[in-house]
Symmetry: C2
Subunit: 222 residues, 2 copies
């Protein structure tokens, strides 16, 4: 069986989980406590990060961007990077927007400081970083609003990897109750549509011991 | 004419320049002082970063990973992400290694602190960051050595986007004289082969006013 090493609140792992689910690719999940730097895991991925996908024959795939393109090539139905080259570039631009810019400005500052630091034993959260994360989030929710008001999905007419990447990050923030959805109705409407997809449901069932999510986290009509 | 907005010592811009050169795609270079946050440029790419590629008909492409995949689709000769899906995933894994991990651990700490901070008016270089960059670089040169001793090119038998991404970062470091090539003969041999490619030559002619590179920077037989 295909195996995906992951961490529950890692947005990159979540992105790959949703892609696998969308494509109905069978796999098992395996939590990898990356902060323990297990030698057997480092042998799979010298970068020491999740997600890592191990195929049934032992082939190892690492880096979420490479894994998603691989799955797109291996399981072309449904297409998640669809269209002509320019449309595909727009999808990939937005994937990079969320995986690089949103991650650096928001996810790392909020999920990283409040949750991952605890696991990593890196001490108390940095309150300046948390303030920065809260200050940056509205800019991104405005951008999602801008896109959602002009397009059916973030990158255009079709649901795509851009929606998955964005929702993967937001779902981690939502788990810690940090998204002011009420102030962003168009973004909320977009996220409601994502939450209702069968591919996304397993993420809403995630439950970290001792750190339950807020009640609206798994609610499809929040 | 196709236009590429770039910054001379931006490794992501350099990666796209080499891809364009490899594919013999015609373009003009336009320096964009991203630190000035010019409104017309932000309208092209709200992320405010280079590289940005503008096609002759005005179509705008941003984010180097999206631009490279776009160019791969538009100009399939030569193929820079070649092979079956697993081989393509290995190429993309290494591109992410250099663009994310190497960038965070080395490029940002050395080129960012010593050069970009000056342009950005962000004050004095952070000496702790510079020490971290110098401490991290040997780990990566060891990894390049490991790959170069087992493969013709970093990702396998064929020259690929992985070589271009790695060389783009190293060429920026080399411009400031920060690569101890003599201690890494296999990595140096690989880089000599990159430097001798016609696609790479224009990068070796880059010359920043008031900040000349060391003599070996453009030397093909350094």
């Amino acid at each position: 069986m295909r195996l995906l090493y992951h961490v529950a609140l890692c947005p990159f792992s979540r992105k790959v989980r949703v892609v696998l689910n969308e494509k109905a690719a069978e796999y098992q999940l395996q939590v990898e406590k990356v902060w323990e730097r297990r030698p057997q895991f480092l042998a799979l991925n010298p970068a020491g990060q999740v997600p890592v996908l191990v195929e049934e024959d032992g082939a190892v795939l690492a880096e979420s961007s490479a894994i998603c393109e691989y799955l797109e090539e291996m399981f072309p139905d449904p297409v998640l990077v669809a269209g002509k080259p320019r449309q595909r570039a727009e999808i990939r631009r937005l994937v990079a927007w969320f995986d690089l810019k949103f991650e650096r400005e928001v996810t790392r500052n909020l999920v990283g400081e409040k949750m991952m630091k605890r696991f990593l034993g890196l001490g108390e959260p940095n309150s300046a970083a948390i303030r920065a994360g809260h200050a940056n989030l509205p800019v991104h929710l405005d951008y999602i609003t801008y896109l959602a008001e002009r397009r059916t999905w973030l990158a255009g007419d079709q649901f795509s990897l851009a929606d998955i990447a964005a929702a993967a990050h937001l779902s981690c923030l939502d788990y810690i109750g940090d998204v002011p959805w009420e102030d962003y109705p168009a973004a909320k409407d977009w996220y409601v549509r994502i939450k209702s997809r069968p591919s996304f449901r397993p993420l809403l069932a995630d439950h970290i011991a001792g750190l339950p999510p807020p009640r609206h986290y798994a609610d499809l009509d929040f």
